[in-house]
Symmetry: C3
Subunit: 340 residues, 3 copies
């Protein structure tokens, strides 16, 4: 049960309404008017709560769950305990997301410009914007309607933030054009100088970084992540891409649409990532590479070469994941032989 100190809780929702929200079909002998109050895990849920089964390894937990209702693939419906209302769907996790959202609507921030914020008079701020305490909004910043700027966040000159964005606390943004519905978690740094130096024995000469960061609609970026602006071309984060915490993205990188970049990954300068690419945690990608659409890079890999669309890569240096596993098995076998 979500802690009401931290989360909004809706009124109870009927089974019928839940089926509509979940885009699921009702099954079982429960009244369509039965009311539910929250979501919960299979092992914790009780009579007035809704759970979900998304992973075969939890079938046992499903069969013994005390959840009043459950989102489940029709293929597993016969494993349900008696008396459980079923909401049948081929995508139980998506359906769970929608129902959890219905029980716990996003927090609505009260529109305000807090008196302790420093807002340059040249800034253009839309309707229903929330500017929390200590925020700094510099000259010529633009903020779209319904956006929240979290406490002590700093938007440097001419930054553009779209509508209905949620910018967390203690974020710093420079030289950036941001679309709508972007979510930035706390502690992010966007648009600072890339790491550009002309190296030399007499010292390293700083190369001016003259590009921007372009963040398209519906991007979400995790806490503490750093994204450098372009050196000349822009750094671009494509529509719907989700980036986790403590990720580093170098100058001139472009990431396509709907990619997933897991925590602590690093992408070096000028690398081009396609659409629907998944990059695992702590992956490192060298500069000036191309990663094709739909590629999947296993956690901790280190890429030194281009990656074809659709391939699955692992290892340092990266290779097709099946070859990587075979290499490990080969070395293990040889090692045991040596020992014997």
């Amino acid at each position: 049960m979500a802690d009401k100190r931290f989360f909004t809780v809706s009124e109870p929702i009927s089974l019928e309404k839940l089926a509509e929200i979940a885009q699921a079909d009702m099954a079982g002998n429960i009244s369509a008017q039965a009311l539910y109050r929250d979501v919960a895990a299979l092992s914790d849920a009780v009579e007035d709560q809704v759970s979900f089964l998304d992973n075969k390894s939890y079938i046992k937990a499903f069969s013994t769950s005390k959840a009043g209702a459950c989102l489940v693939d029709p293929d597993f419906a016969d494993r349900a305990p008696s008396g459980m209302a079923l909401l049948l769907t081929k995508q139980p996790y998506h359906a769970y997301a929608r129902i959890a959202q219905a029980f716990h609507p996003d927090r609505v921030y009260v529109s305000q410009h807090h008196a302790s914020a420093s807002i340059d008079p040249s800034a253009v701020i839309g309707k229903d914007v929330t500017i929390e305490p200590g925020v700094v909004i510099s000259e010529n910043v633009t903020i779209g309607q319904g956006t929240r700027i979290g406490a002590n966040t700093v938007l440097e000159r001419a930054v553009t933030v779209g509508a209905h964005c949620n910018i967390g606390a203690n974020v710093v943004v420079q030289c950036c054009l941001m679309g709508d519905r972007v979510i930035l978690h706390p502690g992010i740094c966007i648009g600072q100088d890339g790491f550009g130096f002309a190296l030399g024995a007499g010292g390293h000469l700083k190369v001016p970084q003259l590009g921007r960061v372009v963040i398209e609609n519906d991007v979400e970026i995790g806490a503490g992540t750093t994204i450098d602006r372009g050196a000349g071309p822009d750094t671009v984060i494509g529509e719907g891409t989700k980036i986790d915490n403590l990720v580093q993205i170098g100058h001139n990188v472009t990431i396509g649409k709907a990619c997933v970049v897991v925590a602590q990954a690093g992408i070096s300068g000028s690398t081009k990532i396609g659409n629907f690419v998944i990059i695992g945690g702590q992956v490192g990608i060298a500069g000036h590479l191309k990663i094709g659409d739909g590629a999947q890079i296993a956690a901790k890999s280190g890429l030194m070469r281009n990656v074809e669309a659709g391939s699955k890569i692992a290892g340092i240096p990266g290779k097709p994941i099946k070859e990587w596993f075979r290499g490990i098995a080969t070395l293990d076998k040889l090692t045991r032989k040596k020992k014997g």
Copy 2:
């Protein structure tokens, strides 16, 4: 000698008193009333300073040290230079910690609520709390007695901070219940949404993150570390656990008591770590794993499987550290052979 601009320095302390603080036995021909003024490394220490020998490889430095007194294991006492006062203990490094603490007591923060802080009237703030400039304390926050909140830190709604905590500057905390004597270094982000998406070709659907972060007593967390709140269950950091800088901890992770997590390690969602586990720097641990009590994971390892209590693991993927070293030796031998 500690720089007095930055550190408090106590009055000189007698040898007798130092022995008491260190829980050590005096040896050598020095008066119990002799006075000492500070701690210092073996190679730097002078007559009125106390040093320590904790590592055999420094025995030579010990034998030639000019330190007036030294904490040392009785087994090495005969290697001391003449004229050095000895403080005999089987735990010289622990004893050093206590003596250094005596010479340099923790800074005492003056209790204040700085005028530039934004404090919601519903917040409940204990006695002797220090609230530095620019701090933002939201509705229903609770802060225990004697706690310090560093400058420009943001505590979002309903966060609970225990007594005698030291929260550094520019920290952001959401959806968190924190015990007593917790130390948070600057730039930490706690309690933001975990990385939860129902992936799909039509875009990635955000899954509401409805849990909290529970931080037990005596936890210390390093600068720039990020800890996501639970997706449903809580993320939990157990009593006395010490986490270094730039560590990433995913949603629903639980870490047991007295663990050590070194810098830049990453722990993926729903993994359960036992008690007294040591996780080296830049380690990556996949999601949904169990790491048994007392396990030790070498720096840079990547874990894809559960780890038994007490085991020592290294490599990507992780294996027992002896096997990992044998694998490396095997490959080196084969490589040399090919070459020859």
Copy 3:
């Protein structure tokens, strides 16, 4: 073309003047008085823009570029398209840096002490210092002439910042002595306690961290990087060293002059790095090691031993890079054989 909302643009500059700035020789049949307005990449540049060729793989782009002028090594001058003004130099990238700087001079911050900053009366602040909104300057801080302190940055007690430094927003600095012309990007944490504990079954005893961080002249440090202060000796970053984003530097580390440390690298406590060392992205270096002058460590390496001056190292554990590549080739060959 740099976005004028974000970057200052100078008046047009003549070819003659550009040659002087670039320290290059003019060639081609273009008037020395011809005017240019900006820099751009070979593929994007137009008639009134200056580009550069620094990498053989771009010779084709050079031969077909529409740039009005180009910085180029004399060896490649004969590959230029007709009508292009040439600026001949053996260091085209250095020359580009100087010309880009001329077209886009550093932003000049207006000297101010913003009313929302908290400045302790004991602080000593030089001439022409810019103190942005929300900055916190504690007792006995010293700031040199012409330095900028970005919004919401916190300088804790007695920190010394040199002249003509540029400290970004949301930075936290403690126990630190900083030279001149230092650049700190946003979100950096400097000078917090190192990770020092006397480990024990009864809990981990905190060891007071009594050193400082010394940052020499002309150092640049990337966003989100963390540098712990010394435990007794100081942590030192040598003159002209450039550190990228999200790097972790432990207590007592010393880094020499003109080193380059790429993003997400981590250097453990008490390690000594020489001069002109290059440390790749996501490298991990164990504690108490010595890395000789001019060594180069490949991205993602993990070092457990000292490194000789001038060597090139790769792998986990690190070895000479040629051996590392041979080891990979050996394992690949054996794996294919097993398969066949």
